[in-house]
Symmetry: C2
Subunit: 176 residues, 2 copies
């Protein structure tokens, strides 16, 4: 079985992954004790995480340790930095990184955002599965998940799920 | 029971209601004999339809009669035109039209697009229910359903439905 690249991401109904100033407060409206919307099960299936540099710095700025201590983490950046333990800074072509990872054995690969990395992956048709959680809110402004100027890509809908707090989760797979 | 304003609309997974040049060909990928995704049942609950002028002209340019012969139709435009039977051209404020309609008795009110009208309604918090059909495709470019610069609006998720051709239909209601 080949390694696949997964996008597992939350967006507002109007298509934003963040409000202005990278504000993520709207995500808290679906917080519910004992409900992680499949995240922990999903994360078990991956051993490699790819994150954009802005998103990485945003997480660190929140005063928490970057997660995924047991996984290979690649931060996509234009500015080289020395590796920090399991976290590597990658300045090459994203397409080349994905191809290299896929040519080696391993579990799945998780793109954890942000929008710039997601769109670069989509422009190069590098994502096999999409698990998109839709938060029941129009946030009105901010960072759109999908930017103009990507190729057309048809998808297979695998499942839809409805959760108590109003989150709708859509799972799509790229046809073979 | 008060009249409500409904949005019943289809969008690609990446949030476009049309590809460049108002191309709607991607909608055909979910066409299936005997399946109208709830449209005919929905349309029975409305007696008034509001459509933007660009969308109206687009429909006519396709060489078909404008539908909704048994309903009051308001075309929202900046340029006055004489009424055409049940089709009225409205050049006033959209907010005022909706308020006037809601102050009279009748069935529900259906906003049938396009994006400009939808966003004007959302900017004024004038839509009560949203039935959004997500077509399983990234179209990559075109006319986004949701534009920047709207107010934040939380919603209640009523239902999610999955259809054979990969369409996912999400039904939301504005909280009271």
């Amino acid at each position: 079985m080949n390694r696949k690249v997964f996008l597992f991401i939350a967006t507002s109904l109007d298509g934003y992954i963040a409000q202005p100033n990278d504000n993520l407060d709207f995500l808290s409206m679906v917080e519910q004790e004992g409900e992680d919307y499949g995240y922990s099960e999903f994360v078990k299936t991956v051993d490699t995480v790819i994150v954009g540099r802005r998103t990485y710095d945003k997480v660190l700025s929140m005063g928490v340790d970057f997660p995924y201590a047991d996984k290979d983490v690649y931060i996509i950046t234009r500015t080289p930095r020395p590796d920090e333990g399991h976290v590597k800074f990658y300045t090459g072509e994203l397409k080349h990184l994905i191809e290299t990872l896929k040519s080696t054995k391993g579990k799945n690969i998780f793109c954890d955002g942000g929008a710039e990395i997601v769109n670069e992956l989509l422009r190069n048709d590098l994502v096999e599965e999409f698990i998109i959680s839709i938060i029941p809110i129009f946030v009105g402004d901010g960072t759109k998940l999908f930017k103009d100027g990507r190729p057309e890509q048809r998808l297979d809908l695998i499942s839809v799920k409805q959760f108590d707090k109003g989150l709708a989760q859509l799972h799509y797979r790229r046809p073979n």
